[in-house]
C-alpha cells in the first residue's frame, strides 16, 4: 500500500512544485539560521579554547589573579612547591600597533631561559641571527614576531617598529621570527614574544606577572600539585588547569551566547508554522483525493502516515539544504559574534574558519525534521479523520472549518494565564530552561486560541475591508473567516516573527531608555579618555601619569582615574570599578541608594565599604550591611556593602570601591578611563582637541566629550544587539515566505472560486485586488495577534531573561508607536509577498478553473 501512497505523494509534489519548494525552503531557512548560529557559536568557543590551549603550551596548571596580576614573589613559592617540575612567568597583553587596519598585537612576555620547554616556538633559523633567540631577548626593546605579522608589514630582523605601551609609544627591534605553528597561530599570527622582565617595564606591570604556567613532575599527579599550591597561595590567586581558564572565558560570554541561541530558535519556530500551514492547506487541497483513498480502503492510519512521511521527507530535504546554507552563513555569524565578544566583553579570539561539527549537524537535522513532523502532525490527523462521504461531495458540500469550541478556547486562555503567572511570579533562579518552559506554555495557549483570535479579528475587519475594498475586500476577509485554522497557520508564522520583532524592539528600546537614564545619572564628567574603542581593554591600560598630564592642562578642574577590571568571585567573576570615590560621589549623589548618604560617603571615601550594582546584589543575594569578602592577590578584602546603584557594564555584577583601596589590595594602578571635569565655561570640544593633541602619537587613547561618550555607549548597545537584528530580519523573511506560500496555496485552493468570479464578470484586476487584499488582511490580523504575543514575550524578556542572564530586570515598555509604524510596513511587505500569487490568480484560465477537480 505504501508504494501506491508514495506514487500519489510524488504526483502531488509534481503538481504543486511551488508549494513543496516554498515549504521546504521555510524549513531550510529555519535550520540554516539555527545551524549558522550554533556553528558560529561553537567556532567562537573552539577559538577561545584553542587560543588558551596554544598559549598554555605544555602547561598542566596555570596561576592567575584576575586581570590585575600578582606579585612576582609568587613565582618563588610556586617553584619551591614539591611536585612542580617547571614554572614559567608570563605577561600577556594586547597592544595597539601603529599599522593602519592591523588592530592589536598579542605580546607574550616570557622568561628567556626556560619557556621553550613549555611552549613550542619554531624559529626561522635562517632569519634569526642568534643561536638562542630567547636569550637574546634580554635586551629590553627586543621582540620576536610571528612570520605572518612580519611578512604582512615587511619587517625584517633589525627593523624597528612602534607599539603603544601603557606610558606611551615605544620603538621595538625585530630580533627574529617564528613559524605560524603553536603560539604562532594565535590571533591569525598577530603575536609577538619578548622578555617577561622587559615587558614588566614596558607595559608598566611593576614587579608583577599576569600568569605562571607550570608543569608538574611526572611522578606527582597534577591534582596533588594543584592542592599544594592552593594551600600555599593567597585565595585571590587561582590555580587551574588551562581548560578551566578556557571555560572561564566561555562563561564570561554566556549571556550573549544564550541570548543569540534563543533567537535562533525563532526561525525554527516560524518554520513549524509554515509546515503546519502548508499541510493544513494540502489536506484541504486534497480533500477529494483523501475521500477517494478512504473510499477505496485506505485506513485512517495510512492516510495520516502518508502526510507525515511527506513532512518527514520535506524535513529531511529542508534540513540538509538548511545545514549546507547554514554552514555558508556560519562564518558571517562567527565574525559578528567575535566582534560582539571583543566589543562588549573585551575578550579577543582568533579568527577561525567555521568547521562542520557532526553533532551540530545531527542536532540541526533532528530539529528540522522534528519541526517538520510536528508541524504536519495536526493536519495529518485532520486528513485521517476526514469523512469520506463528505469528501467526495462537491465544493459547496464542504463544511466550514470548525473553529475551536469554548472549552478549548478556555483551555488555551488558561494556559496563557498560567504561563504568564509562572513567568511573572516564579523566581528567576529556577533557571532559563524552566523559565522557557513557562514561556512555551504561554505560546502554546496563544497558538490554541489563535484560530478564534483570527476569526474575531477577521470579523472585525470585514466591514472595514468591505468599505475600503468593496466585494473583493469582503471576499478576501471571508476566506479568513471561513478558514480560520488555515489562516491561523499563516497568521501564526507572521505572529511569531512579529512577536520577536516587537518584543526585541521593545526590549532594546527599554534597555536604551534604562541606559540613557543611567548615563545621565552616572556619567557626568565633561571629557572621557578611554583605552579602547570597545567597552574596555583587558590588557592595554594607561598609567596615572597620563591623568596627571591631563590635569595640568589649563581649564581642567579635576581628573579621576578609573580602573575597570574583572576579579574572581565565588567561582565566577565580578566586575570591579575602582574610582576616586570623592569625585564620583560628588557627581553621582542621586545614583546611590540604601543608606544615609553622608555617612556612606565618608566611609566609601576612606575605603571602609563598597557599593555594589543592583544586579550584583540580585545575582549573589546580598544587601546593604552584608559583608563582602573578596579574594585579592594580597589576601582577603572584607568590607561592608554600603549601598546599591544601577550599573549595566557587566552582567556578572559590579563592585565599586575607592581606587586607593583597590590599589592597596590588588597592587594595580592601571587606568582604563580618565574622567575629566572642566572649569565652568570651558568648551568641551576645544578641550577634547587639547587632550587629543596631548595623547597623539604617544598613547592609544580615545577621547570623547560627554555627549560623544554617551553616543559611543549607545553604539555599543547597538553592537550587542546586532545579531538579534539580523536574526529578526531572517525570522521576518521566513514569515514572509509563509505569506507567499499561503497565498499561493490559497489561490490554488480557491482556483474554482476565482474561476467562478471570473466567469460571472470579475475582472483580472479585481482578482488581483482580491488576493492582495487577503494579503493585507493577513498582515493586519498578524500585527494584531503579533502585538498580543509581543506584549507577552516582552514581559518574559524584561522580567525573566534579563534577570537570569544579566541579573537586572529591564523596565517594561511596549513600543506602540513601533507597532503602529509596522502596520504599513508589514502591509507593504505582505502586498509584495502577495504580488506573485495575485498575478497567478489573475492569469488563471477560467474554463480550467471551473472544471478544476
Amino acid at each position: 500500500m505504501f508504494g501506491a501512497l508514495w506514487l500519489i505523494t510524488f504526483k502531488q509534489w509534481r503538481a504543486h512544485r511551488l508549494r513543496v519548494a516554498l515549504t521546504t525552503l521555510g524549513i531550510a531557512l529555519g535550520v540554516a539560521v539555527f545551524f549558522a548560529i550554533r556553528t558560529g557559536n561553537t567556532t567562537l568557543l573552539d577559538s577561545l579554547r584553542a587560543t588558551v590551549e596554544k598559549l598554555a603550551g605544555k602547561a598542566t596548571l596555570q596561576i592567575t589573579a584576575g586581570e590585575s596580576g600578582f606579585s612576582e614573589k609568587v613565582l618563588d613559592t610556586v617553584r619551591a612547591t614539591p611536585g612542580v617540575q617547571l614554572a614559567e612567568p608570563v605577561i600577556e597583553t594586547m597592544v595597539q600597533t601603529s599599522f593602519p587596519d592591523e588592530g592589536t598585537l598579542l605580546i607574550l612576555g616570557v622568561d628567556t631561559t626556560g619557556d621553550q620547554q613549555l611552549r613550542d616556538y619554531q624559529f626561522d633559523r635562517t632569519q634569526t641571527q642568534i643561536a638562542d633567540p630567547l636569550v637574546f631577548l634580554a635586551q629590553p626593546d627586543s621582540i620576536l614576531l610571528s612570520r605572518a605579522f612580519a611578512d604582512r608589514h615587511g619587517l625584517k630582523v633589525g627593523d624597528k617598529f612602534p607599539l603603544f605601551a601603557s606610558d606611551g609609544k615605544k620603538e621595538f627591534t625585530v630580533q627574529g621570527t617564528f613559524k605560524p605553528v603553536g603560539v604562532g597561530e594565535v590571533f591569525g599570527g598577530n603575536v609577538a614574544v619578548m622578555d617577561v622582565y622587559s615587558a614588566q617595564v614596558v607595559f608598566h606591570r611593576g614587579r608583577k606577572f599576569d600568569r605562571i604556567d607550570l608543569m608538574n613532575a611526572p611522578a606527582v599527579p597534577v591534582e596533588v600539585v594543584q592542592q599544594r599550591l592552593r594551600a600555599q597561595l593567597p585565595a585571590g590567586v587561582e590555580v587551574d588547569r588551562p581548560e578551566v581558564r578556557g571555560q572561564a572565558l566561555e562563561n564570561a560570554v554566556t549571556a550573549m551566547r544564550v541570548g543569540i541561541l534563543i533567537t535562533s530558535f525563532v526561525a525554527l519556530l516560524v518554520g513549524v508554522y509554515i509546515i503546519f500551514n502548508s499541510f493544513t492547506i494540502a489536506v484541504n487541497q486534497r480533500w477529494k483525493e483523501i475521500g477517494i483513498l478512504r473510499a477505496v480502503g485506505v485506513e485512517q492510519g495510512n492516510v495520516s502516515r502518508m502526510f507525515l512521511c511527506e513532512a518527514l521527507l520535506m524535513g529531511v530535504i529542508g534540513s540538509l539544504v538548511g545545514i549546507a546554507g547554514g554552514f555558508l552563513l556560519a562564518s558571517a555569524a562567527n565574525r559578528v559574534m567575535r566582534g560582539m565578544v571583543a566589543a562588549v566583553y573585551g575578550v579577543v579570539s582568533t579568527a577561525a574558519p567555521a568547521r562542520l561539527h557532526l553533532d551540530q549537524c545531527a542536532i540541526a537535522f533532528a530539529l528540522g525534521v522534528a519541526a517538520s513532523v510536528i508541524g504536519a502532525w495536526y493536519p495529518a490527523r485532520g486528513a485521517a479523520c476526514l469523512d469520506p462521504a463528505l469528501a467526495l461531495h462537491n465544493i459547496e458540500a464542504r463544511h466550514r472549518e470548525s473553529v475551536l469550541g469554548w472549552r478549548r478556547m478556555g483551555g488555551g486562555l488558561l494556559l496563557m494565564a498560567a504561563g504568564s503567572a509562572l513567568v511573572v511570579w516564579t523566581p528567576s533562579r529556577l533557571g532559563l530552561l524552566i523559565q522557557f518552559l513557562f514561556a512555551s506554555i504561554v505560546l502554546l495557549g496563544l497558538t490554541i486560541v489563535l484560530p478564534k483570535l483570527v476569526l474575531w479579528s477577521a470579523r472585525a475587519l470585514r466591514p472595514i475591508m468591505n468599505w475600503a475594498g468593496g466585494s473583493e475586500g469582503a471576499l478576501a476577509v471571508d476566506a479568513m473567516i471561513q478558514t480560520p485554522r488555515r489562516s491561523s497557520a499563516t497568521v501564526g508564522a507572521l505572529m511569531v516573527g512579529l512577536m520577536f520583532v516587537f518584543s526585541t524592539a521593545s526590549y532594546i528600546q527599554s534597555y536604551r531608555q534604562m541606559i540613557d537614564r543611567w548615563m545621565n545619572q552616572v556619567l557626568n564628567a565633561d571629557i572621557f579618555v578611554a583605552t579602547s574603542a570597545m567597552l574596555r581593554s583587558s590588557s592595554y591600560h594607561f598609567t596615572e601619569d597620563l591623568g596627571r598630564k591631563i590635569a595640568a592642562l589649563p581649564g581642567v578642574s579635576r581628573v579621576e582615574n578609573v580602573r575597570f577590571t574583572a576579579i574572581p568571585y565565588r567561582g565566577d567573576t565580578a566586575a570591579v570599578i575602582a574610582i576616586e570615590m570623592d569625585g564620583f560621589l560628588t557627581r553621582s549623589q542621586n545614583a546611590i541608594e540604601g543608606a544615609d548618604s553622608r555617612t556612606v560617603y565618608d566611609k566609601l571615601t576612606r575605603g571602609e565599604g563598597v557599593l555594589v550594582s543592583r544586579n550584583f546584589a540580585l545575582r549573589w543575594g546580598v544587601g546593604v550591611g552584608n559583608q563582602l569578602s573578596l579574594e585579592s592577590p594580597t589576601g582577603t578584602l572584607e568590607r561592608p556593602i554600603l549601598g546599591f546603584l544601577d550599573d549595566y557594564r557587566s552582567e556578572k555584577g559590579t563592585i565599586f570601591m575607592d581606587r586607593a583601596l583597590y590599589k592597596k589590595y590588588w597592587g594595580d594602578d592601571a587606568v582604563d578611563f580618565i574622567d575629566v571635569d572642566l572649569n565652568p565655561g570651558v568648551d568641551q570640544l576645544a578641550m577634547k582637541s587639547e587632550v587629543q593633541r596631548l595623547t597623539a602619537g604617544s598613547f592609544h587613547a580615545f577621547v570623547y566629550t560627554n555627549a560623544e561618550f554617551k553616543r559611543w555607549i549607545s553604539s555599543l548597545v547597538d553592537q550587542f544587539f546586532t545579531l538579534n537584528y539580523m536574526q529578526l530580519v531572517v525570522a521576518v523573511m521566513i514569515a514572509i515566505l509563509g505569506i507567499v506560500n499561503t497565498l499561493l496555496i490559497s489561490v490554488s485552493e480557491r482556483r474554482r472560486e476565482i474561476g467562478i468570479v471570473r466567469a460571472i464578470g470579475g475582472l483580472r484586476s479585481q482578482i488581483r485586488k482580491l488576493v492582495l487584499l487577503e494579503a493585507v488582511a493577513v498582515a493586519v490580523v498578524g500585527v494584531i495577534v503579533g502585538s498580543v504575543a509581543g506584549i507577552l514575550n516582552t514581559m518574559f524578556m524584561s522580567h525573566t531573561v534579563s534577570v537570569v542572564l544579566a541579573g537586572y530586570s529591564v523596565p517594561f515598555y511596549f513600543p506602540w508607536e513601533f507597532v503602529l509604524l509596522s502596520v504599513p510596513v508589514v502591509t507593504a511587505v505582505s502586498l509584495a509577498a502577495g504580488w506573485w500569487p495575485a498575478r497567478n490568480a489573475a492569469c488563471m484560465q477560467v474554463i480550467e478553473a471551473i472544471g478544476y477537480e
Binding site: I395, A397, R764
Partner: protein
C-alpha cells in the same frame, strides 16, 4: 445586414486544441439566436457543447470564425472588455451550481452587482428581490452547504438574473438534480423567461430541458447535424403542468 434582434451570431466558428490543432472541437459552426428565443444545444459527450458555450461567453477564443453578441464582435475585445460584456449581458447557470461556498445565498446572488461596483445596500436589495422571485428569501442568509441541490440552483439562477442580462446561458442546468427538482427549475426558468423575455441558450443532455426551448440544435463531432423547432414559444415543457 445584421438584424437588430439578433443576440448571438456565430459565423464559421472553428475551435481546435493541441499544438497543431490535432483535436477539432468545433468545425465551421454557424448559428443565430434571436432576441427572446430559447435554444437548446444537445449532443453526446465530446460533441463540443461546452466548448461552444465557452466561446459564446468569451471564456475561450475560436481558432477561426466570428462570434457576435448583440452585434459586438468578441474577437475585437480584450480580456477586460469581454469580462465586462459577460457581467453586463450574460447570465450563466452551471451544472455544478458554482456558488462560492464562503458566501451566503444573498451574497452569492449579489456578487455580480457588487463586481459592477454598486453600493452594498442596492446590491442587497436587488439580490433579495431576486431571491424572493426564485422562492428563496427565507434561505437568504444560508450558505451553500446548508442548501439542497435545487435551492443551490435557484441561488445560481438568482445570481445569473440579478442584473437582468439580455442573454442567459445554461450549462446542463438540471444535470445535477433529480428529475422532480429539475422540472421545478425548468418551470422557474420558464416563468422568468416569460417575465424578462431574455434570450436563452442551454447546453444539455436532458430531453426535458431541451423541450423547454423553442429550437433544438444537435451537435455531433463539432458540427450541427440537426435543427428542430419545438413549436413551444413561452410554454413550459409538456407533462409538467
Amino acid at each position: 445586414m445584421f438584424a437588430a434582434a439578433t443576440m448571438i451570431q456565430l459565423t464559421n466558428v472553428s475551435k481546435s486544441y493541441g499544438d497543431s490543432g490535432a483535436v477539432q472541437a468545433l468545425h465551421n459552426l454557424s448559428m443565430t439566436v434571436e432576441q427572446g428565443e430559447r435554444v437548446a444545444v444537445m449532443g453526446p459527450s465530446g460533441s463540443g457543447k461546452s466548448t461552444l458555450l465557452n466561446l459564446i461567453c468569451g471564456l475561450d477564443e475560436p481558432t477561426s470564425g466570428s462570434i457576435k453578441l448583440e452585434g459586438i464582435e468578441l474577437a475585437a475585445l480584450d480580456d477586460d472588455r469581454r469580462t465586462r460584456l459577460r457581467r453586463e449581458k450574460l447570465g450563466m447557470i452551471f451544472q455544478t451550481f458554482n456558488l462560492l461556498p464562503t458566501l451566503t445565498a444573498l451574497e452569492n446572488a449579489a456578487l455580480p452587482l457588487r463586481l459592477q461596483g454598486l453600493r452594498r445596500r442596492e446590491t442587497d436589495q436587488r439580490a433579495m428581490a431576486m431571491l424572493e422571485r426564485v422562492g428563496l428569501k427565507v434561505r437568504a442568509h444560508h450558505r451553500p452547504d446548508e442548501l439542497s441541490g435545487g435551492e443551490r440552483q435557484r441561488v445560481a439562477i438568482a445570481r445569473a438574473l440579478v442584473f437582468h442580462p439580455p442573454i442567459l446561458l445554461g450549462d446542463e442546468p438540471t444535470g445535477n438534480l433529480d428529475s422532480a427538482t429539475g422540472e421545478e427549475i425548468l418551470r422557474l426558468l420558464d416563468d422568468l423567461h416569460r417575465e424578462y423575455n431574455n434570450t436563452v441558450l442551454l447546453v444539455t443532455h436532458n430531453d426535458l430541458a431541451a423541450a423547454f426551448c423553442d429550437r433544438i440544435l444537435t451537435l455531433r463531432d463539432g458540427q450541427f447535424v440537426k435543427e428542430v423547432r419545438t413549436g413551444r414559444t413561452g410554454t413550459a415543457p409538456a407533462g409538467e403542468r
